[in-house]
């Protein structure tokens, strides 16, 4: 049952990205081009998503169990550290180079774009590289429990 709902959530998420025009890297780059002619659409996508999200997460925070009786797994980490900022800067550079972030790239792959597929494969390699680095790091320094990461 949980698997079915996760599928529906992924499907709805993907449909939202398509409706919002966010699967098109040209539109993302239009938003990131504040020095040129700026397309503010992505900002409105965020506003629309957060308007709904605020209500949902306010409800979620008050519960310990989900509607299916599963544990509510919300991130508990609060500190802003170099890992968070450094990782975000690296992500932002990649985002600005291609106009793809993880969700839209996967949807573009689903739509049959070869360039989307190449990006997703490279992204998986990058995530794999992180997993290797992180495994080594957590073996030497177990300061941050894995469950505390969002």
């Amino acid at each position: 049952m949980a698997t079915l709902f996760a599928f529906v959530a992924g499907l709805v998420f993907g449909l939202g990205l398509i409706i919002a025009g966010m699967v098109n890297p040209a539109k993302i780059l239009g938003f990131l081009d504040i020095a040129g002619t700026w397309d503010p659409s992505l900002a409105l996508v965020m506003v629309g998503a957060i308007a709904v999200g605020l209500v949902a997460f306010a409800l979620a925070r008050r519960r310990t169990m989900s509607a299916l009786g599963l544990p509510m797994q919300l991130p508990s980490q609060r500190t802003v550290d170099a890992r968070l900022i450094g990782g975000s800067l690296v992500f932002g550079i990649g985002w600005g180079l291609a106009g793809f972030c993880p969700g839209p790239a996967i949807v573009a792959l689903g739509a049959g774009y070869a360039k989307g597929a190449v990006f997703v494969v490279a992204m998986l390699l990058g995530m794999g590289a992180f997993a290797l680095i992180d495994r080594h790091r957590t073996r030497t320094d177990s300061a941050i429990p894995d469950a505390n990461r969002p």
Partner: protein, 144 residues
């Protein structure tokens, strides 16, 4: 800076955004999980038997969304200007960066800001700033 009025799509953007928010609401309220794409995918690379199926199902939903959308309306074409070498470099950076940051546009940008998380606000400001600078360099500094 000038507004690109020709390509600005406020209504579809806001409505699509609300649908994304609805998906995130569904996943957290029903499954108790945050709809962060990089985290959902990244978690599959270190598989645990009890924690794999929902991730795969969510990704399958994303992959099938274009097909379902095309049943109702024509799939809007995407313009991917980046060359293959650039896409590979960008993909590697996005993969490694999002995992170090513990989230991407969805996990930090949508869900994190909805949770009013200071970490996610810092992450969102950082990746947007890096994106602005990168596009500025690629489009305006290098060509000049």
């Amino acid at each position: 800076m000038s507004i690109d009025w020709i390509n600005f799509t406020p209504w579809s953007a806001a409505i699509g955004g609300a649908v994304i928010g609805l998906a995130a609401a569904l996943l957290v309220l029903v499954n108790g999980r945050v709809a962060g794409i990089s985290g959902i995918v990244g978690g599959m690379l270190r598989p645990r038997a009890d924690d794999f199926a929902w991730r795969l199902a969510f990704i399958a939903g994303l992959l099938l969304a274009p097909m379902v959308y095309a049943m109702v309306a024509a799939f809007p074409s995407a313009t991917i200007a980046a060359s293959y070498p650039v896409l590979i470099v960008a993909g590697l950076l996005v993969g490694i960066g999002t995992r170090f940051a513990g989230g991407c546009t969805s996990g930090h940008g949508v869900c994190g800001l909805s949770r009013l998380s200071p970490r996610s606000l810092a992450a969102t400001l950082a990746f947007m700033a890096a994106g602005f600078v990168t596009v500025c360099v690629v489009r305006h500094v290098i060509p000049a």
